[in-house]
Protein backbone atom coordinates (compact mmCIF):
# COMPACT_ATOMS: atom_id res chain seq x y z
CA UNK A 1 0.00 0.00 0.00
CA UNK A 2 1.21 3.49 -0.78
CA UNK A 3 1.74 5.69 2.28
CA UNK A 4 -0.80 8.47 2.56
CA UNK A 5 0.36 11.73 0.96
CA UNK A 6 -0.36 13.43 4.26
CA UNK A 7 2.68 11.64 5.67
CA UNK A 8 4.91 13.31 3.09
CA UNK A 9 7.11 16.10 4.47
CA UNK A 10 7.06 18.29 1.39
CA UNK A 11 3.30 18.04 1.06
CA UNK A 12 3.14 18.97 4.72
CA UNK A 13 5.16 22.12 4.20
CA UNK A 14 3.03 23.16 1.25
CA UNK A 15 -0.20 22.55 3.15
CA UNK A 16 1.03 24.51 6.17
CA UNK A 17 2.08 27.39 3.92
CA UNK A 18 -1.35 27.37 2.27
CA UNK A 19 -3.03 27.34 5.66
CA UNK A 20 -1.22 30.45 6.84
CA UNK A 21 -1.63 32.18 3.46
CA UNK A 22 -5.38 31.57 3.72
CA UNK A 23 -5.42 32.82 7.30
CA UNK A 24 -3.52 35.96 6.28
CA UNK A 25 -5.82 36.57 3.36
CA UNK A 26 -8.86 36.17 5.60
CA UNK A 27 -7.49 38.71 8.08
CA UNK A 28 -6.66 41.06 5.25
CA UNK A 29 -10.18 40.81 3.91
CA UNK A 30 -11.65 41.23 7.37
CA UNK A 31 -9.55 44.35 7.79
CA UNK A 32 -10.76 45.87 4.55
CA UNK A 33 -14.36 45.25 5.72
CA UNK A 34 -13.81 47.73 8.53
CA UNK A 35 -12.35 50.14 6.01
CA UNK A 36 -8.85 49.88 7.32
CA UNK A 37 -6.38 51.57 5.00
CA UNK A 38 -3.08 49.82 4.98
CA UNK A 39 -0.11 52.15 4.94
CA UNK A 40 2.86 49.85 4.87
CA UNK A 41 4.93 52.47 3.09
CA UNK A 42 5.13 54.59 6.23
CA UNK A 43 6.88 51.81 8.19
CA UNK A 44 10.43 52.06 6.71
CA UNK A 45 10.93 55.63 7.83
CA UNK A 46 10.44 54.51 11.41
CA UNK A 47 13.47 52.27 10.97
CA UNK A 48 15.80 54.77 9.35
CA UNK A 49 15.10 58.26 8.16
CA UNK A 50 17.03 60.88 6.25
CA UNK A 51 18.01 63.84 8.31
CA UNK A 52 18.84 67.09 6.51
CA UNK A 53 21.83 68.90 7.94
CA UNK A 54 21.97 72.51 6.64
CA UNK A 55 24.97 74.76 6.35
CA UNK A 56 23.84 78.33 6.99
CA UNK A 57 25.52 81.62 6.45
CA UNK A 58 26.63 83.44 9.62
CA UNK A 59 26.19 86.90 8.13
CA UNK A 60 25.26 88.92 5.08
CA UNK A 61 28.09 88.64 2.59
CA UNK A 62 29.55 87.13 -0.50
CA UNK A 63 30.02 83.41 -1.12
CA UNK A 64 33.17 82.21 -2.78
CA UNK A 65 33.85 78.60 -3.67
CA UNK A 66 37.48 77.53 -3.52
CA UNK A 67 37.79 73.91 -4.52
CA UNK A 68 36.13 71.93 -1.77
CA UNK A 69 35.65 74.90 0.52
CA UNK A 70 33.04 77.60 0.87
CA UNK A 71 34.32 80.98 2.01
CA UNK A 72 31.93 83.68 3.12
CA UNK A 73 33.25 87.18 3.17
CA UNK A 74 30.99 89.20 5.41
CA UNK A 75 30.20 92.83 4.87
CA UNK A 76 32.18 93.76 7.95
CA UNK A 77 35.22 92.09 6.38
CA UNK A 78 35.23 88.89 8.49
CA UNK A 79 35.90 85.63 6.64
CA UNK A 80 34.39 82.22 7.39
CA UNK A 81 35.55 78.99 5.78
CA UNK A 82 33.52 75.75 5.64
CA UNK A 83 34.38 72.36 4.21
CA UNK A 84 31.85 71.22 1.60
CA UNK A 85 32.75 67.53 1.94
CA UNK A 86 29.55 65.56 1.37
CA UNK A 87 27.39 68.68 1.03
CA UNK A 88 25.16 69.64 -1.83
CA UNK A 89 25.57 73.30 -2.77
CA UNK A 90 22.45 75.48 -3.18
CA UNK A 91 24.18 78.73 -4.23
CA UNK A 92 26.68 79.57 -6.90
CA UNK A 93 30.13 80.99 -6.71
CA UNK A 94 30.12 84.79 -6.19
CA UNK A 95 26.47 84.99 -5.16
CA UNK A 96 25.37 87.24 -2.35
CA UNK A 97 23.96 85.52 0.75
CA UNK A 98 21.99 86.80 3.69
CA UNK A 99 22.45 85.75 7.27
CA UNK A 100 20.86 82.30 7.94
CA UNK A 101 20.56 81.49 4.27
CA UNK A 102 21.02 77.79 3.61
CA UNK A 103 24.15 77.65 1.51
CA UNK A 104 24.33 73.87 1.32
CA UNK A 105 22.90 70.76 2.96
CA UNK A 106 23.75 67.14 3.42
CA UNK A 107 21.63 64.07 4.12
CA UNK A 108 22.46 61.80 7.02
CA UNK A 109 20.77 58.46 7.77
CA UNK A 110 19.56 58.31 11.36
CA UNK A 111 18.18 55.27 13.19
CA UNK A 112 14.44 55.61 13.66
CA UNK A 113 12.34 54.69 16.69
CA UNK A 114 12.00 51.02 15.74
CA UNK A 115 15.77 50.56 15.69
CA UNK A 116 16.29 52.58 18.87
CA UNK A 117 13.57 50.61 20.64
CA UNK A 118 14.98 47.33 19.33
CA UNK A 119 18.37 48.30 20.68
CA UNK A 120 16.92 49.06 24.12
CA UNK A 121 15.14 45.69 24.11
CA UNK A 122 18.36 43.92 23.14
CA UNK A 123 20.32 45.79 25.78
CA UNK A 124 17.86 45.18 28.57
CA UNK A 125 17.49 41.51 27.58
CA UNK A 126 21.22 40.81 27.39
CA UNK A 127 22.02 42.51 30.67
CA UNK A 128 19.12 40.78 32.39
CA UNK A 129 20.15 37.41 30.95
CA UNK A 130 23.60 37.84 32.37
CA UNK A 131 22.36 38.69 35.85
CA UNK A 132 19.55 36.14 35.76
CA UNK A 133 22.06 33.42 34.96
CA UNK A 134 24.42 34.60 37.68
CA UNK A 135 21.63 34.74 40.27
CA UNK A 136 20.31 31.36 39.11
CA UNK A 137 23.72 29.74 39.42
CA UNK A 138 24.37 31.18 42.87
CA UNK A 139 20.93 30.20 44.16
CA UNK A 140 21.19 26.69 42.69
CA UNK A 141 24.53 26.15 44.37
CA UNK A 142 23.24 27.61 47.64
CA UNK A 143 20.31 25.21 47.58
CA UNK A 144 22.61 22.25 47.00
CA UNK A 145 25.31 23.37 49.41
CA UNK A 146 24.05 21.17 52.20
CA UNK A 147 24.01 24.22 54.47
CA UNK A 148 20.39 24.58 55.68
CA UNK A 149 20.47 28.39 56.00
CA UNK A 150 21.56 28.78 52.37
CA UNK A 151 19.02 26.23 51.25
CA UNK A 152 16.18 28.08 53.01
CA UNK A 153 17.27 31.48 51.72
CA UNK A 154 17.20 30.05 48.22
CA UNK A 155 13.91 28.25 48.55
CA UNK A 156 12.08 31.25 50.04
CA UNK A 157 13.36 33.40 47.18
CA UNK A 158 12.24 30.90 44.57
CA UNK A 159 8.83 30.49 46.19
CA UNK A 160 8.12 34.21 46.40
CA UNK A 161 9.33 35.01 42.90
CA UNK A 162 7.56 32.13 41.22
CA UNK A 163 4.39 32.74 43.17
CA UNK A 164 3.81 36.36 42.14
CA UNK A 165 3.23 37.96 38.73
CA UNK A 166 6.18 39.53 36.95
CA UNK A 167 4.14 42.66 36.34
CA UNK A 168 3.55 43.14 40.06
CA UNK A 169 7.23 42.56 40.76
CA UNK A 170 8.09 45.15 38.14
CA UNK A 171 5.85 47.69 39.89
CA UNK A 172 7.43 46.85 43.23
CA UNK A 173 10.90 47.39 41.82
CA UNK A 174 9.91 50.58 40.03
CA UNK A 175 7.71 52.25 42.62
CA UNK A 176 9.36 50.99 45.80
CA UNK A 177 12.92 49.76 45.32
CA UNK A 178 13.90 52.25 42.64
CA UNK A 179 12.37 55.11 44.61
CA UNK A 180 14.13 54.20 47.84
CA UNK A 181 17.51 53.67 46.23
CA UNK A 182 17.07 56.32 43.56
CA UNK A 183 17.62 53.93 40.67
CA UNK A 184 17.06 54.85 37.03
CA UNK A 185 14.02 53.08 35.54
CA UNK A 186 16.23 51.09 33.16
CA UNK A 187 17.94 49.39 36.09
CA UNK A 188 14.65 48.81 37.87
CA UNK A 189 13.58 46.93 34.74
CA UNK A 190 16.83 44.97 34.56
CA UNK A 191 16.61 44.10 38.26
CA UNK A 192 13.12 42.78 38.12
CA UNK A 193 13.72 40.72 34.97
CA UNK A 194 16.96 39.32 36.41
CA UNK A 195 15.47 38.44 39.74
CA UNK A 196 12.36 36.91 38.17
CA UNK A 197 14.22 34.76 35.66
CA UNK A 198 16.98 34.03 38.19
CA UNK A 199 14.47 32.01 40.18
CA UNK A 200 13.45 29.90 37.20
CA UNK A 201 17.03 29.40 36.04
CA UNK A 202 18.00 28.41 39.59
CA UNK A 203 15.48 25.59 39.53
CA UNK A 204 16.61 24.40 36.10
CA UNK A 205 20.26 24.40 37.13
CA UNK A 206 19.50 22.73 40.45
CA UNK A 207 17.71 19.91 38.66
CA UNK A 208 20.51 19.54 36.15
CA UNK A 209 23.23 19.49 38.79
CA UNK A 210 21.31 16.91 40.80
CA UNK A 211 20.86 14.72 37.75
CA UNK A 212 24.60 14.22 37.32
CA UNK A 213 25.58 10.69 38.26
CA UNK A 214 26.94 10.15 41.77
CA UNK A 215 29.87 8.33 40.22
CA UNK A 216 31.11 11.61 38.73
CA UNK A 217 31.38 13.15 42.20
CA UNK A 218 33.09 10.04 43.50
CA UNK A 219 35.63 9.84 40.68
CA UNK A 220 36.44 13.51 41.16
CA UNK A 221 36.80 13.10 44.93
CA UNK A 222 39.03 10.08 44.51
CA UNK A 223 41.39 12.13 42.33
CA UNK A 224 41.77 14.79 45.02
CA UNK A 225 39.65 17.60 43.57
CA UNK A 226 38.30 19.92 46.26
CA UNK A 227 34.60 20.72 46.32
CA UNK A 228 34.93 23.89 44.27
CA UNK A 229 37.01 22.15 41.60
CA UNK A 230 34.57 19.27 41.46
CA UNK A 231 31.72 21.66 40.81
CA UNK A 232 33.60 23.86 38.36
CA UNK A 233 35.46 21.37 36.21
CA UNK A 234 33.28 18.29 36.37
CA UNK A 235 29.70 18.79 37.53
CA UNK A 236 28.78 22.22 36.15
CA UNK A 237 29.98 21.65 32.58
CA UNK A 238 27.87 18.50 32.38
CA UNK A 239 24.90 20.12 34.10
CA UNK A 240 24.99 23.12 31.76
CA UNK A 241 24.94 20.85 28.73
CA UNK A 242 21.95 19.00 30.10
CA UNK A 243 20.16 22.22 30.99
CA UNK A 244 20.89 24.00 27.72
CA UNK A 245 17.54 23.47 25.97
CA UNK A 246 15.59 24.51 29.07
CA UNK A 247 17.86 27.52 29.61
CA UNK A 248 17.41 28.71 26.04
CA UNK A 249 13.65 28.42 26.60
CA UNK A 250 13.86 30.66 29.66
CA UNK A 251 16.02 33.22 27.88
CA UNK A 252 13.50 33.36 25.03
CA UNK A 253 10.74 34.00 27.57
CA UNK A 254 12.91 36.70 29.09
CA UNK A 255 13.17 38.53 25.77
CA UNK A 256 9.41 38.38 25.33
CA UNK A 257 8.64 39.44 28.88
CA UNK A 258 11.04 42.35 28.56
CA UNK A 259 8.14 44.02 26.71
CA UNK A 260 6.54 44.55 30.12
CA UNK A 261 9.12 47.19 30.99
CA UNK A 262 7.41 49.50 28.52
CA UNK A 263 4.84 49.96 31.28
CA UNK A 264 7.36 51.76 33.45
CA UNK A 265 8.15 54.04 30.51
CA UNK A 266 11.32 52.44 29.28
CA UNK A 267 11.48 53.16 25.57
CA UNK A 268 11.83 49.60 24.41
CA UNK A 269 10.40 48.07 21.27
CA UNK A 270 6.89 47.80 22.71
CA UNK A 271 6.84 51.36 24.02
CA UNK A 272 8.03 52.55 20.62
CA UNK A 273 5.20 50.60 19.05
CA UNK A 274 2.69 52.43 21.20
CA UNK A 275 4.21 55.79 20.30
CA UNK A 276 4.18 55.06 16.60
CA UNK A 277 0.55 53.96 16.73
CA UNK A 278 -0.32 57.20 18.49
CA UNK A 279 1.39 59.18 15.73
CA UNK A 280 0.26 57.28 12.67
CA UNK A 281 -3.04 55.64 13.60
CA UNK A 282 -1.72 52.52 11.88
CA UNK A 283 -1.88 49.90 14.63
CA UNK A 284 -2.01 46.91 12.27
CA UNK A 285 1.25 47.61 10.48
CA UNK A 286 3.00 48.79 13.61
CA UNK A 287 2.15 45.86 15.86
CA UNK A 288 2.81 43.33 13.11
CA UNK A 289 6.23 44.92 12.66
CA UNK A 290 6.91 44.89 16.39
CA UNK A 291 5.92 41.21 16.56
CA UNK A 292 8.22 40.40 13.64
CA UNK A 293 11.12 42.11 15.38
CA UNK A 294 10.57 40.12 18.60
CA UNK A 295 10.29 36.96 16.54
CA UNK A 296 13.59 37.80 14.91
CA UNK A 297 15.32 38.18 18.29
CA UNK A 298 13.91 34.95 19.71
CA UNK A 299 14.73 33.08 16.50
CA UNK A 300 18.34 34.19 16.63
CA UNK A 301 18.55 32.93 20.21
CA UNK A 302 17.00 29.57 19.48
CA UNK A 303 19.25 29.21 16.44
CA UNK A 304 22.30 29.78 18.63
CA UNK A 305 20.90 27.27 21.11
CA UNK A 306 20.51 24.62 18.41
CA UNK A 307 24.04 25.24 17.15
CA UNK A 308 25.48 24.88 20.65
CA UNK A 309 23.52 21.70 21.24
CA UNK A 310 24.76 20.23 17.98
CA UNK A 311 28.33 21.10 18.79
CA UNK A 312 28.05 19.40 22.16
CA UNK A 313 26.51 16.31 20.62
CA UNK A 314 29.49 16.13 18.31
CA UNK A 315 31.71 16.31 21.37
CA UNK A 316 30.80 12.89 22.66
CA UNK A 317 27.24 13.13 23.86
CA UNK A 318 26.25 14.71 27.18
Amino acid sequence: MKPSIFKNRRVGIILAALFYAALGFFLYKAASKINYTWKWDMIPKYFVYEKKIPLTSPCDGKLEIEGNKAVIICEDGKKYTYSLEGYKLEFENGEFVYEDDEIAYKIKLEPGPFLLGLWVTIKISLISMFFAFLIGLIIAIMRLSGIPAFDYIGSVYVTIIRGTPLLVQLFIFYFIVATIFDLPRFWAGVMSLSIFYGAYIAEILRGAIQSIDKGQHEAAKSLGFNSFQRMWYIILPQALRKALPALVGELISLIKDSSLVSIISITDLTKVGREIVANTFSPFETWLTVAALYLMLTSVLSFIGHKLEKRMKAKGGI
Partner: protein, 245 residues
Protein backbone atom coordinates in the same frame (compact mmCIF):
# COMPACT_ATOMS: atom_id res chain seq x y z
CA UNK B 1 56.84 -2.14 59.43
CA UNK B 2 53.81 0.10 59.95
CA UNK B 3 50.99 -0.87 57.52
CA UNK B 4 50.17 1.76 54.89
CA UNK B 5 46.44 1.12 55.44
CA UNK B 6 45.40 0.63 59.04
CA UNK B 7 41.75 0.18 59.89
CA UNK B 8 40.79 -0.60 63.46
CA UNK B 9 37.41 -1.72 64.75
CA UNK B 10 35.50 -0.11 61.91
CA UNK B 11 31.74 0.08 62.24
CA UNK B 12 29.50 1.44 59.58
CA UNK B 13 25.76 1.87 59.77
CA UNK B 14 23.30 2.81 57.05
CA UNK B 15 20.39 3.85 59.21
CA UNK B 16 19.51 0.70 61.13
CA UNK B 17 21.58 -1.49 58.85
CA UNK B 18 24.95 -2.54 60.23
CA UNK B 19 27.11 -2.76 57.10
CA UNK B 20 30.57 -3.19 58.72
CA UNK B 21 30.89 -4.89 62.09
CA UNK B 22 34.07 -4.24 64.07
CA UNK B 23 36.27 -4.78 61.06
CA UNK B 24 40.06 -4.74 61.45
CA UNK B 25 41.91 -4.48 58.16
CA UNK B 26 45.57 -3.73 57.53
CA UNK B 27 47.58 -3.61 54.32
CA UNK B 28 51.35 -3.43 54.09
CA UNK B 29 53.15 -1.23 51.63
CA UNK B 30 53.38 -2.96 48.24
CA UNK B 31 50.92 -5.64 49.22
CA UNK B 32 48.22 -6.82 46.80
CA UNK B 33 45.02 -7.75 48.60
CA UNK B 34 41.92 -9.19 46.97
CA UNK B 35 38.61 -8.87 48.78
CA UNK B 36 35.84 -11.26 47.89
CA UNK B 37 32.54 -12.32 49.34
CA UNK B 38 28.86 -12.54 48.50
CA UNK B 39 26.84 -9.57 47.28
CA UNK B 40 25.94 -7.18 50.07
CA UNK B 41 28.70 -8.42 52.35
CA UNK B 42 30.23 -4.93 52.67
CA UNK B 43 33.22 -5.17 50.31
CA UNK B 44 32.52 -1.90 48.53
CA UNK B 45 31.68 -0.21 51.79
CA UNK B 46 35.01 -1.27 53.25
CA UNK B 47 37.21 0.00 50.45
CA UNK B 48 35.18 3.19 50.04
CA UNK B 49 35.96 3.97 53.66
CA UNK B 50 39.67 3.93 52.82
CA UNK B 51 39.42 7.18 50.79
CA UNK B 52 36.45 8.51 52.72
CA UNK B 53 33.88 8.14 49.99
CA UNK B 54 31.95 6.72 52.93
CA UNK B 55 32.25 7.98 56.48
CA UNK B 56 32.55 5.41 59.22
CA UNK B 57 30.33 5.33 62.29
CA UNK B 58 33.17 4.39 64.62
CA UNK B 59 36.74 3.16 64.50
CA UNK B 60 40.06 4.50 63.35
CA UNK B 61 41.63 4.69 59.89
CA UNK B 62 45.27 5.62 59.34
CA UNK B 63 46.52 5.90 55.76
CA UNK B 64 50.25 6.30 55.20
CA UNK B 65 50.65 7.57 58.75
CA UNK B 66 47.78 10.04 58.56
CA UNK B 67 44.62 9.66 60.58
CA UNK B 68 41.70 10.09 58.16
CA UNK B 69 39.55 11.73 60.81
CA UNK B 70 42.19 14.00 62.29
CA UNK B 71 41.22 17.65 61.82
CA UNK B 72 44.71 18.39 60.56
CA UNK B 73 44.45 15.87 57.74
CA UNK B 74 43.67 17.41 54.39
CA UNK B 75 41.43 14.77 52.86
CA UNK B 76 41.82 16.08 49.30
CA UNK B 77 45.57 15.88 49.65
CA UNK B 78 45.38 12.38 51.05
CA UNK B 79 43.09 11.25 48.24
CA UNK B 80 45.80 12.15 45.73
CA UNK B 81 47.77 9.23 47.14
CA UNK B 82 44.84 6.83 47.05
CA UNK B 83 43.62 6.17 43.53
CA UNK B 84 40.34 4.45 42.85
CA UNK B 85 38.99 2.53 39.86
CA UNK B 86 35.25 1.99 39.76
CA UNK B 87 32.99 -0.70 38.41
CA UNK B 88 31.30 1.75 36.05
CA UNK B 89 34.50 3.62 35.09
CA UNK B 90 33.07 7.06 35.91
CA UNK B 91 35.05 8.77 33.18
CA UNK B 92 34.18 12.44 32.65
CA UNK B 93 31.97 12.28 29.55
CA UNK B 94 32.40 15.94 28.58
CA UNK B 95 36.19 15.68 28.32
CA UNK B 96 38.40 13.89 25.83
CA UNK B 97 40.42 10.89 26.93
CA UNK B 98 43.49 13.09 27.13
CA UNK B 99 41.66 15.71 29.19
CA UNK B 100 40.25 13.02 31.47
CA UNK B 101 43.79 12.06 32.34
CA UNK B 102 45.38 15.51 32.49
CA UNK B 103 42.65 17.33 34.41
CA UNK B 104 43.61 16.18 37.90
CA UNK B 105 47.39 16.56 37.50
CA UNK B 106 47.03 20.09 36.09
CA UNK B 107 44.28 21.36 38.39
CA UNK B 108 45.00 19.50 41.60
CA UNK B 109 48.77 19.17 41.41
CA UNK B 110 49.32 22.27 39.23
CA UNK B 111 51.50 20.29 36.87
CA UNK B 112 52.37 22.27 33.69
CA UNK B 113 50.02 21.36 30.82
CA UNK B 114 52.80 20.08 28.57
CA UNK B 115 54.20 17.76 31.23
CA UNK B 116 50.73 16.44 32.01
CA UNK B 117 50.11 15.77 28.35
CA UNK B 118 53.37 13.88 28.02
CA UNK B 119 52.56 11.86 31.10
CA UNK B 120 49.09 11.09 29.77
CA UNK B 121 50.44 9.87 26.45
CA UNK B 122 52.91 7.60 28.24
CA UNK B 123 50.15 6.20 30.42
CA UNK B 124 47.88 5.61 27.43
CA UNK B 125 50.71 3.66 25.86
CA UNK B 126 51.03 1.63 29.04
CA UNK B 127 47.36 0.71 29.07
CA UNK B 128 47.68 -0.04 25.35
CA UNK B 129 45.36 2.56 23.86
CA UNK B 130 47.78 5.18 22.53
CA UNK B 131 45.60 6.22 19.61
CA UNK B 132 42.39 7.26 21.34
CA UNK B 133 43.64 10.39 23.09
CA UNK B 134 41.33 12.81 21.31
CA UNK B 135 38.19 10.73 21.42
CA UNK B 136 35.46 11.10 24.00
CA UNK B 137 34.63 8.36 26.52
CA UNK B 138 31.34 7.70 24.73
CA UNK B 139 33.28 6.49 21.71
CA UNK B 140 35.24 3.77 23.51
CA UNK B 141 34.44 0.16 24.40
CA UNK B 142 34.00 -0.84 28.03
CA UNK B 143 37.43 -2.39 28.24
CA UNK B 144 39.04 0.71 26.77
CA UNK B 145 37.11 2.95 29.16
CA UNK B 146 38.30 1.00 32.15
CA UNK B 147 41.89 1.18 30.95
CA UNK B 148 41.53 4.95 30.55
CA UNK B 149 40.15 5.08 34.09
CA UNK B 150 43.23 3.23 35.28
CA UNK B 151 45.49 5.65 33.38
CA UNK B 152 43.59 8.57 34.91
CA UNK B 153 44.25 7.19 38.37
CA UNK B 154 47.91 6.48 37.65
CA UNK B 155 48.42 10.06 36.46
CA UNK B 156 48.17 11.21 40.07
CA UNK B 157 51.02 8.85 40.97
CA UNK B 158 49.16 7.30 43.89
CA UNK B 159 50.80 4.96 46.39
CA UNK B 160 47.61 2.98 46.89
CA UNK B 161 45.11 1.93 44.24
CA UNK B 162 41.64 0.72 45.14
CA UNK B 163 39.67 -1.32 42.62
CA UNK B 164 35.96 -1.96 43.15
CA UNK B 165 34.91 -4.79 40.84
CA UNK B 166 36.75 -3.25 37.88
CA UNK B 167 35.75 -5.98 35.44
CA UNK B 168 32.22 -6.88 36.45
CA UNK B 169 30.57 -4.36 34.13
CA UNK B 170 32.57 -5.59 31.15
CA UNK B 171 31.69 -7.97 28.36
CA UNK B 172 33.59 -11.23 28.91
CA UNK B 173 35.90 -10.70 25.94
CA UNK B 174 37.16 -7.42 27.44
CA UNK B 175 37.91 -8.65 30.92
CA UNK B 176 41.31 -10.03 29.94
CA UNK B 177 42.70 -6.76 28.60
CA UNK B 178 41.85 -4.95 31.85
CA UNK B 179 43.16 -7.74 34.06
CA UNK B 180 46.45 -7.72 32.10
CA UNK B 181 46.97 -4.05 32.95
CA UNK B 182 46.08 -4.70 36.59
CA UNK B 183 48.49 -7.61 36.79
CA UNK B 184 51.30 -5.40 35.59
CA UNK B 185 50.50 -2.85 38.26
CA UNK B 186 50.37 -5.58 40.89
CA UNK B 187 53.91 -6.58 40.00
CA UNK B 188 55.14 -3.02 40.52
CA UNK B 189 55.32 -1.55 43.97
CA UNK B 190 51.81 -0.17 44.14
CA UNK B 191 49.76 -1.14 47.16
CA UNK B 192 46.57 -2.60 45.77
CA UNK B 193 43.24 -3.44 47.34
CA UNK B 194 40.92 -5.03 44.83
CA UNK B 195 37.36 -6.21 45.20
CA UNK B 196 36.87 -8.84 42.53
CA UNK B 197 35.47 -12.23 41.81
CA UNK B 198 38.20 -12.96 39.25
CA UNK B 199 39.79 -15.82 41.12
CA UNK B 200 42.37 -16.42 38.41
CA UNK B 201 43.64 -12.92 38.91
CA UNK B 202 43.66 -13.41 42.69
CA UNK B 203 45.60 -16.64 42.40
CA UNK B 204 48.15 -15.09 40.07
CA UNK B 205 48.98 -11.78 41.77
CA UNK B 206 47.35 -11.49 45.20
CA UNK B 207 49.50 -11.73 48.31
CA UNK B 208 46.41 -12.24 50.41
CA UNK B 209 42.72 -12.90 49.99
CA UNK B 210 40.19 -11.44 52.37
CA UNK B 211 36.79 -13.08 52.48
CA UNK B 212 33.90 -11.02 53.79
CA UNK B 213 30.36 -11.97 54.68
CA UNK B 214 27.58 -10.02 56.39
CA UNK B 215 29.78 -7.04 57.24
CA UNK B 216 32.62 -9.06 58.74
CA UNK B 217 35.99 -10.32 57.60
CA UNK B 218 35.42 -14.03 57.96
CA UNK B 219 38.71 -15.38 56.70
CA UNK B 220 42.05 -14.15 55.32
CA UNK B 221 44.79 -16.22 53.82
CA UNK B 222 47.24 -16.58 50.94
CA UNK B 223 45.48 -17.47 47.70
CA UNK B 224 46.84 -21.04 47.65
CA UNK B 225 45.66 -21.77 51.16
CA UNK B 226 42.35 -20.01 50.69
CA UNK B 227 41.48 -21.96 47.55
CA UNK B 228 42.87 -25.28 48.81
CA UNK B 229 41.69 -25.24 52.39
CA UNK B 230 38.98 -22.72 53.09
CA UNK B 231 38.52 -22.84 56.85
CA UNK B 232 34.95 -21.69 57.28
CA UNK B 233 31.78 -23.14 55.86
CA UNK B 234 30.79 -19.75 54.54
CA UNK B 235 33.99 -19.51 52.48
CA UNK B 236 33.55 -23.06 51.24
CA UNK B 237 30.02 -22.33 50.15
CA UNK B 238 31.08 -19.07 48.46
CA UNK B 239 33.94 -20.74 46.60
CA UNK B 240 31.84 -23.62 45.38
CA UNK B 241 29.30 -21.12 44.08
CA UNK B 242 31.67 -18.91 42.14
CA UNK B 243 34.04 -21.61 40.91
CA UNK B 244 31.30 -23.85 39.58
CA UNK B 245 30.12 -21.73 36.74
Amino acid sequence: MEPIIKMERINKHYGDFHALKDVDFNVKKGEVVVICGPSGSGKSTLIRCINRLEDISSGKIVIDGKDLYDKKTNINKLRQEVGMVFQHFNLFPHLTILENITLAPTKVKKMPKEDAKKLAMELLKRVKIPHQANKYPGELSGGQKQRVAIARTLAMKPKIILFDEPTSALDPEMIGEVLDVMKELARENYTIVCVTHEMGFAREVADRIVFMDKGEIVEENTPEEFFKNPKTDRAKKFLSEILHH
